[in-house]
Amino acid sequence: MKIRDILSPFTVWKNLFRDPVTINDPVRERPGAPRYRGFHKNDVKKCIGCGTCETICQNGAIDMVPVDGIAAKEGDSGLRPRIDYGRCCWCALCVDVCMTKSLTMSNDYQWIDRDPDAFRFTPGVDKKKWDDAELGYTRPDAHRLTPEERIHMQELGPETRIGSFIEIVKGYSVDEARKEADRCVSCGLCVATCPAHMAIPDYIAAIRDGDYERGLKLLYDTNPLPEVCGRVCTHKCESVCAVKHEGDPIAIRWLKRHIADQVPLDKYRAIVGAAEPATGKKVAVVGAGPAGLSAAYYLARMGHAVEIFEALPAAGGMMRYGIPEYRLPYPDLDKDIAFVKELGVKITLNTRVGKDVTLDDLRKKFDALFISTGLHLGRSTKVPGADHPKVFQSIDLLRRVTLGEDIYCPEQAIVIGGGNVAMDIARTLARIQTKKYGKVGVTLLCLETEDIMPADREEIVESREEGVVLRPGYGPTRIDTDGDRVTGTRFVRCLSVFDENGRFAPRFDQSDEIAISGAMVVESIGQGMDLSYLPDDLQKQIVFERGRPKVDRHFRTSLPWLYAGGDIVQGPDVIHGIANGHAAAVGIDIYLRGKMEQ
């Protein structure tokens, strides 16, 4: 043993002269680091109650609970996360996965209590001392646990599509659809917003699993027109998608279409199932639009004999005669209708109720009636010159195009209106012009400015791409005519469309007038209904509310055997029509079964 071995331990003594490293008051002097994952905070106003935090929590520490003062509404479940600190492990996965970034963590870490049940609280609702802490963990911007970008949808370029009526959107491939479906967080906020309350997270899960049969079955539970809805639905669901808060919403509509596209028609019956045993009851449906087809489908499933009466030469209603082919190709519409027929629904075409057959006849022959005749009367602007023969209604033109008629289409056309129908006619005219003249000459004007235009965003973008000139924010004052020719239209700037109560009351700046030249004017400012087929005595018995038949929650009018649905009740929308049809079918079924028991 060396002497050094004895002496060197005494170097410890040099520490006698060091400053102590002891922290004076560790309890109060040591706040957590800026990134510290301390106790949770939640911005309850930003939170949408989607529950992804609950889903990801491996400790089962989070409950979604209703909170006073926060009601469920579209896009917000009204629930807020309650965290059990008897489970939490402060991994912050809930913060990382939070769709709105409302859930964060403070840098506070001291919570002592005698009562073990106290450690359960709803951040942001139960006041805690760390609610105002500035530091703490928030999800770094680049750190994402769910993909934010929507899978790109292959579309035809404007040059290709303008020359024909070929469908623009190509649809997802299986791989793309699986990737897009993978983005869904399965929160289910969309279900409430969907008028048909489709099981959206479930069918998206079916795509993820590649189980299209399950997917199709789920679709048909609430929607018998998936090919149609997958293309032209107004997809309100996407506007409340939890993913949209940081990124693009899930392409719910296109995923639905993908399922229907993947399954051939001849497999439908085996997957969805056949109708129930016949009940012997008969139901007549007037109008083969989405509501009529939907009602007929569900009634047929329930075992009732259904016959649809359609005035036009093909079934589909507005889906066929309103929506242009480039948005909804006829074969896809036919596929949906074919399956409705396959279930035993009889569709009598070219039969206008009120003319070819009276409603009273139907009343006698059938046990119940469902009317869904839609809005097929165009509304006029009623400005001077609007009654000129070269001033058209968009809805008439679209129908004539579908019927194969050669419509009048000059090199320059003016479309008045800012909704989707206006876009449809503008783009239809653009296609006809391209065929006829090789160039597009359509100007679209509407009262609304671009940010509040009712048309879908992609419609606005795509019509611009196709060469349609958009002049939002103008209202027509006069249509200039010269004998049997229309020469143009004068517009004034629209200052505001709605008054402070939100009612339609446009104000104009008369000094700012423009003149647009065009040999044709198409009015597309809304549609009305034609209920002239209802006999007068019935018209009197039916209660109307703001011009529409009043119905109960089963879409029964004031007459027990008469149900109504679709656009005439709900306003123009495919998915609402489908939902109405379904609800009415349930109501009719209850009514008929009640009668059977008597």
Binding site: V12, A33, R35, P140, P147
Partner: protein, 392 residues
Amino acid sequence: MALYEPDRSQYPAKKPDGTLDIDLTSGKYLKLWQGPQHPGITGNMSLELTVCGDEVVDCQTHVGYLHRGFEKLMERRTYIQCFPIVCRICVPEPDFNEYCYAAAVEELSGITAPRRADWIRTLILEMGRINSYMMYLGGQAGSLGMGVIGQWTTYVRDLMLDRFEELTGARIYHMFILPGGVRDGLPEGFEKRMEETLREIESTMKDVHEAMFCNAVFKKRAVGLGYIDPALIEPYGVTGPTARAAGVAKDVRKDFPYLVYPELDFEPVTGKDSDAFTRADVRRRDVLLSIDLLRQILAKMPHDGPLMAKIPNVLHWKVPRGETYIRAECSRGEYGYYIVADGSGYPRRVNVRGPSYTHAVALLERLIINVNIADVAGLMVSLHTYPPEIER
């Protein structure tokens, strides 16, 4: 077989059936339990010692006091949900769990973590290694009679925990390395504060060298204690500093380079004498190596670029069928994750190979024979085992 048997030439005698002839009623032998009650370092395991006088003649280890059934729990958690729980498997050095798990899931899913994330991962692993060694050095000195070393090393370890806290947002369970990358980059001014911490550790290591390794008492007690014959290294699955102290330069960082180790300049630390003293010394020099590596990492590390690879939506992350094994060199030896995926959203089987598993049971039972009772704790600590990773 003879090699694997400890030297029992003196006593007790063997019965014809091969078991030891220990008659507790004779008064010659005594059963003595050590643990599981413990104040920290040796961990919750107990030794059922049979002693004769103050010499251990037989030993059975008892583990399982910390068993939580991780491998079972992971089978019913999704791949992302496993990420927060893996670090709990080893308390003093949790990051290797996070890295091995993340790397295994990435490999099975066909994802490559961004390079910058690899640098940060390496940084964290080396920081964790220093932390773990600081626990060890304090424990080793404490178990052989020197309390003050533990006071110092715990202090510098705490400084390192401060760095961990500002980088990862937590002191002990960092939960920072997740499948796909890491959570965030370095905070501002981190390099400077890290350098200060490293300097503090270096100066403490000098003190430790003086006060512990040059200390006559420590030398007297540790030299020759728990000698591991190099021939035992492979049969007993010995890895890490324990193997390196026997002159076998086993170091996963060098043998099977992972992360950014190929870009770092280092040589594994080895020793010759394979006893408790050499093992302590190898670990002390390993701390210095880690300090050097940390400096290299901070100097070479890129400061921009992505930190996360594109990963599937974690809420339904499915991993294709397959099995893999990912290893890393932790402060105690080879740490590894064997993961079997069956194509679902949950791992089919996860097996954690902690170095303590081989060291603390079979090897300890073998080494402890003929050791003085007073040295049992010192021997246990010199193997540097953490019981939670034995039973998981």
